[in-house]
């Protein structure tokens, strides 16, 4: 489809909350949330790994639940409350999960890290992981090609109790 023909397809106005701020956006229907975050809003913390929902590098939180931004159409986020890695810290104070990743050196190259951290916060909100085996199973949607899993596990295990979002969080 040529660029000229694409103009026949309408852009749509959407309104959402992004990292606590209300945002109004114009989006084409076929643009993913991941591409809007990175290309339109310059929020490049959310990473594009596989772009097929297999690696978890693009994990963000929608209404407190972790999702893959690469398999989400931006247009379907109208009205959503989104949190990316850029929105987890409180000013200069890091989120407990970010702090724990630094403390435990839970990365090597760092490319999967924003997705790992957002996923771990989503895990905390779910309140279903009570031990290391359950954390491993419930973090399996986030791959780390450097193989930093043992340190990621240590970080998540330590920060899980302090990491649930204020709303919707629930302890195991």
């Amino acid at each position: 489809m040529s660029a000229t023909n694409q103009k026949d397809f309408a852009e749509h106005a959407i309104a959402l909350t992004l990292n606590g701020q209300p945002r109004q956006l114009q989006v084409q229907p076929w643009v993913t949330l991941l591409d809007v975050l990175r290309e339109q809003l310059d929020l490049v913390g959310t990473k594009k790994g596989c772009d097929h929902g297999q690696c978890g590098a693009c994990t963000v939180l929608r209404d407190g639940k972790r999702i893959n931004a690469c398999l989400t159409l931006a247009i379907m986020c109208d009205g959503a409350d989104l949190t990316t890695i850029e929105g987890l810290a409180d000013g200069d104070v890091l989120h407990p999960m970010q702090q724990a990743f630094i403390k435990h050196d839970a990365f090597q190259c760092g490319y999967c890290t924003p997705g790992q951290i957002c996923s771990a916060v989503g895990l905390a909100n779910e309140g279903r992981a009570g031990n290391a085996d359950e954390i491993k199973e419930l973090m399996s949607g986030n791959l780390c090609r450097c193989g930093a899993y043992s340190n990621i596990l240590a970080a998540v295990e330590e920060a899980l109790p302090q990491s649930a979002s204020k709303e919707g969080g629930r302890q195991p």
């Binding site: 489809m1 023909n5 694409q6 397809f9 309408a10 749509h12 084409q28 229907p29 076929w30 993913t32 772009d51 097929h52 929902g53 978890g56 994990t59 929608r62 639940k65 972790r66 999702i67 893959n68 398999l71 989400t72 159409l73 247009i75 379907m76 996923s119 989503g122 895990l123 779910e126 279903r128 491993k136 199973e137 419930l138 973090m139 399996s140 949607g141 986030n142």
Partner: protein, 328 residues
């Protein structure tokens, strides 16, 4: 991804009136958008159904449950009524995909996900399911993950769902609505075998929308097990999976359900095998006989003969686990 038009109706009737062969309904989008990125599917129009009132889990008059088509896989697996009354379904859902995908994927969409056959997914290759009449490279190609039961000359693909294997065992009913009205489809009849029309995965017409899945009262709470065998410990499709459910009187089998995933174009059940177990005592010998009978018509391809023995052993193990107690 190709450009397309987008609409978001608020009523089921509106959604149905917009649907045609070139449109697709979208809810979670976890499979559809992936297929569109690969140019396997190129719809002109996406009809966003996430605004439809299909998000509830309700109790039915006969003691079963009616699950709205838009309930997410995660919300369903962790719904108190599902965990209490249909733990087999919870276990199967949690064996599939990743937590992120389960948060996105819908109940209705889980039934409609397409096969993960490598050749179906590669738009540069022939595939009878993608382009009817173009051929099936899987039959003579890499077919380790393909079907050993119910395949045809045209297609050897498998259905990828875990949830559907449990729904088959629980004898769920699929409620659909189209321009011609509403109808209910028994789970066993919903998905098709490939035969000579592998492009059709199921019985739905273009304008039909899944509105709900109904679970009958029997949940096999005391004796059930979902066993999934895959290439890694988590987040992979099944090579073979088994949903086993028993109702016991002492050690005598009063009722039994057995469904297999990863081996056919649809969740595989054989009511004659289940009937052969009824009235018999729980024993390894009886389970082995049932497992052999379940696979009696299996036909291996070059790389997947291992699935036959694997499925037989998995059936024996799943039935044995179910007989001892529940899961977890």
């Amino acid at each position: 991804m190709n450009p397309f038009n987008y609409s978001k109706p608020s009523q089921v009737s509106q959604a149905i009136s917009l649907a045609d062969g070139a449109s697709r309904f979208i809810a979670g989008g976890t499979n559809l958008l992936d297929l569109m990125k690969e140019n396997v599917d190129r719809p002109d129009h996406l009809i966003d159904i996430t605004g439809l009132p299909l998000k509830e889990v309700k109790e039915t008059a006969n003691g079963g449950l009616l699950i709205g088509a838009l309930v997410s896989n995660a919300d369903l697996a962790w719904h108190p009524l599902i965990e209490q009354r249909y733990p087999l379904l919870s276990q199967a859902i949690l064996a599939g995909a990743s937590p992120q995908l389960r948060n996105m994927a819908s109940t209705g969409g889980n039934l409609l996900q397409r096969t993960r056959c490598y050749y179906f997914y590669d738009a540069a290759m022939p595939c009878n399911k993608r382009e009817p009449g173009s051929g099936c490279p899987a039959k003579s190609g890499l077919n380790r993950i393909h079907a050993v039961l119910g395949a045809s000359d045209e297609c050897v693909a498998t259905h990828p769902s875990d949830m559907c294997v449990a729904l088959a065992a629980l004898e769920a009913v699929v409620h659909v609505e189209g321009r011609a009205g509403k109808r209910s489809i028994e789970f066993a009849d919903f998905h098709r075998l490939p035969e000579n029309a592998p492009q059709r995965d199921n019985q739905l017409a273009d304008d039909e929308l899944i509105t709900a899945i109904e679970l009958p009262p029997a949940g096999f709470v005391s004796h059930h097990h979902y066993l999934k065998i895959r290439d890694r410990a988590s987040y992979a499709f099944a090579l073979v999976s088994v949903a086993a459910a028993l109702e016991l009187d002492g050690d005598v089998i009063r009722d039994v359900r057995l469904a297999l995933g990863g081996v056919a174009h649809k969740p595989w059940r054989d009511k004659s095998v289940e009937q052969s177990l009824r009235g018999k005592p729980v024993s390894r010998e009886n389970f082995v006989a049932a497992a052999d009978a379940m696979l009696r018509d299996a036909r291996p391809l070059a790389h997947n003969a291992f699935k036959i023995k694997l499925a037989q052993r998995a059936i024996v193990r799943a039935l044995s686990e179910a007989a001892v107690g529940g899961n977890v």
